[in-house]
């Protein structure tokens, strides 16, 4: 299945991209997606092992199950206000 991955602020700068389509096996979790990306080596391996993630614009957990077409955003520590 395909996931739309978004990378904000410092994560976007580390990767040199702000959006990627990632192919991953059906019924993967957030954790599996992070593992798959980090296993690609530099610069992906510089993402943290358990980043804060939002799935379809809601904060999600590592064990959240992903579905085809989900939007998964990688969120560095937030600093609004």
């Amino acid at each position: 299945m395909h996931i739309r991955a978004l990378f904000f602020a410092s994560y976007g700068e580390i990767l040199g991209t702000r959006e990627l389509t990632v192919e991953i096996s059906r019924a993967s979790t957030v954790e599996a997606l992070v593992r798959e990306l980090r296993s690609r080596g530099e610069p992906f391996s510089r993402l943290p092992p358990s980043p804060v993630v939002a799935v379809n614009r809601e904060y999600a957990q590592e064990d959240t199950l992903l579905r085809e077409g989900d939007e998964v955003a990688f969120l560095p520590p937030v600093a609004g206000g």
Binding site: F8, V52, G81
Partner: protein, 147 residues
């Protein structure tokens, strides 16, 4: 009146307060977050806020709706600026009107603290000398965050 927005336009205090309160309100409280000229010992010239816009707009709405439930007022304005800001400019505005002051202070405090924990917005500081850096922040949902 309830109003939330992420905006690229300068935030004007008079605008924030316009049409906010009703005749039953005896307290109108305005909080402004402002860009300061220093942070952790470095001279700051300005900063850039980046947002995950679609999610940040939803989070602003959720925060206001939580404050409505907790503090019993539907006269709330919650704004966050994005883009490039200079020292002295307003980054955040929170206005609350309530019959008595206690609820206004409590609601305003709730909104700024929860916003800092949960709003998907990031800040890059520009320093004197031309360097810039993303400022470390808080990890939503990893201790203290969440409704």
């Amino acid at each position: 009146m309830i109003r939330t927005a992420l905006t690229r336009e300068a935030i004007e205090p008079e605008e924030v307060l316009r049409d906010l309160s009703t005749p039953e309100d005896g307290a109108v409280l305005l909080f402004l977050g402002v860009v300061r000229n220093h942070n952790r010992g470095r001279a700051v010239e300005g900063l850039t806020y980046e947002a995950y816009r679609e999610m940040a707009e939803k989070v602003l709405e959720s925060l206001v709706s939580e404050a409505e439930d907790r503090y019993g007022t539907d006269r709330i304005v919650l704004l966050h600026r994005i883009g490039e800001l200079s020292v002295g400019e307003v980054s955040t505005a929170i206005a609350v009107a309530t019959p008595h002051r206690e609820e206004a202070y409590a609601a305003s405090r709730y909104l700024i603290e929860e916003l800092k924990e949960r709003l998907p917005v990031w800040k890059e500081e520009r320093y004197r000398g031309g360097e810039s850096e993303w400022v470390g922040g808080r990890e939503p949902g990893k201790g203290g965050g969440g409704p």
